[in-house]
């Protein structure tokens, strides 16, 4: 069976089977951050924590750099990455600004502008 061509939506990756397979270890680690004990264990030894969950080099680097686009490319899911962001008290405007290369102020202004459309 030939694989169906994927729909291309600019600036958007659908979290499908390919991404879910690729990102499983990363997402599983982020799922563990529902527990305060695990959040503290991660902060105490980030390399060791990533290794324990079997993250590959690309994923470990993306996590340590807190690079959201790199985490997404490595199979991270937005909701799970947000749990990692929570450890660093990043809100969704911080995360949005980082991904779009905007300042937080400019990102917020863009959201407000969308309300005037």
């Amino acid at each position: 069976m030939t694989k169906k061509a994927k729909r291309v939506i600019p600036g958007t990756t659908l979290f499908d089977g390919d991404m879910a397979r690729k990102g499983y270890a990363l997402n599983k680690m982020c799922f563990s951050f529902n527990s305060e004990e695990n959040r503290q264990a991660f902060l105490a030894d980030r390399d060791g924590y990533c290794a324990k969950y079997g993250l590959n080099e690309e994923q470990t680097k993306a996590v340590k750099d807190l690079n959201v686009l790199a985490m997404l490319a490595a199979g991270g899911n937005a909701y799970y990455i947000a749990k990692l962001g929570g450890i660093y008290k990043l809100d969704m405007q911080d995360v949005g600004a980082q991904q779009t290369g905007m300042t937080k102020e400019a990102f917020i202004a863009k959201l407000v502008e969308a309300g005037r459309a």
């Binding site: 729909r7 939506i9 600019p10 600036g11 958007t12 990756t13 659908l14 979290f15 499908d16 089977g17 879910a20 499983y24 997402n27 599983k28 982020c30 799922f31 951050f33 529902n34 527990s35 305060e36 959040r39 959201v68 686009l69 997404l72 899911n77 937005a78 909701y79 799970y80 990455i81 947000a82 749990k83 962001g85 929570g86 450890i87 008290k89 809100d91 969704m92 405007q93 995360v95 949005g96 991904q99 779009t100 990102f107 917020i108 863009k110 959201l111 407000v112 969308a114 309300g115 459309a117």
Partner: protein, 279 residues
């Protein structure tokens, strides 16, 4: 037989939890959002629901990606909230309604919706916050609940057509339930927003407004769009509008608009509220 009094569809941004915990409802940022609720509270006082069926998507509290049901129904005596990892306060448990849960499970599976049943289930912000918003006195005057989870997280997702049909099957299940209960349906999430990727911050006000209008008059209109179309039109998380659609399906052919509110932005999200009375 049980009666469906109507439905309320509403945004479930986690950030609302902090606003509720810190009583920020009258702050300039929050006021345009919270001002949408008093007319809905007034209607609910008349409609007097005993049970609420909440259709939502879990964000990695009860379901991790190790087991990802397309449709799941809770069948627990009560539902606990827990730490979701992003720092919103946890809230007290919600009573379940085992009779309605099993009535729905029996009827839905007979109707060929082969869903997952959950006798233990944690409920996340997408369940807890909309209930807190609609029932601010829920501790003193509890409503019973049945959680219904749809997968809007890991593709492939159920189609708009399937969700609408699922909602209609929920209606049949409730209408044939031998009970005097008055039932409210809720659908939570949306409207347009995208958290991830270079397109983060995407919002589509014209589509949202048309969607809210069509939900009242012609919900089948949504089924012309594929899931990918809907993601393109509303964002990777805007696709949560599927929960609104299922809710609408449960309200029957004709509904009357009670109240609507729409405000941009709450967090990165176009915040929608739509209360509908069954006719």
């Amino acid at each position: 037989m049980a009666k469906i009094v109507g439905g309320v569809a509403v945004t479930h941004v986690p950030y609302i939890g902090r606003a509720l915990a810190q009583n920020l409802q009258q702050e300039p940022y929050w006021k345009p959002f919270f001002d949408g609720f008093p007319p809905v509270h007034a209607w609910l006082e008349q409609a007097k629901p005993d049970v609420v069926v909440v259709i939502y998507n879990d964000h990695g509290l009860n379901f991790f990606l190790d087991k990802m049901p397309t449709f799941a129904v809770g069948a627990a005596p009560q539902y606990m909230n827990a730490d979701e990892g992003w720092g919103i306060p946890t809230v007290p448990p919600f009573p379940g309604d085992l009779d309605l849960s099993w009535r729905m499970i029996d009827s839905l599976i007979e109707d060929e919706f082969d869903l997952t049943t959950c006798q233990e289930m944690l409920v996340d912000h997408a369940f807890t916050l909309p209930i807190e918003l609609l029932f601010p006195n829920r501790i003193k005057q509890p409503v019973r609940t049945v959680p219904v989870v749809q997968n809007t997280v890991q593709f492939p997702l159920p189609s708009a057509k399937r969700c609408l049909a699922f909602g209609r099957a929920i209606r049949r299940a409730i209408e044939n339930w031998d009970s005097d209960a008055r039932v409210l349906i809720m659908g939570t999430g949306g409207l347009s927003h995208q958290l991830d990727g270079e397109r983060a911050g995407f919002i589509n006000k014209p589509f949202d407004l048309e969607f809210m209008e069509k939900l009242i008059t012609d919900p089948d209109w949504v089924t012309q769009y594929s899931i990918a179309d809907l993601v393109e039109l509303t964002g990777t998380q805007g696709i949560e509008l599927l929960n609104w659609l299922t809710c609408r399906g449960a309200l029957g052919d004709h509904v009357e608009k009670v109240h609507a509110n729409y405000h941009i932005p709450i967090s990165n999200t176009a915040a929608g509220l739509l209360a509908m009375a069954s006719k």
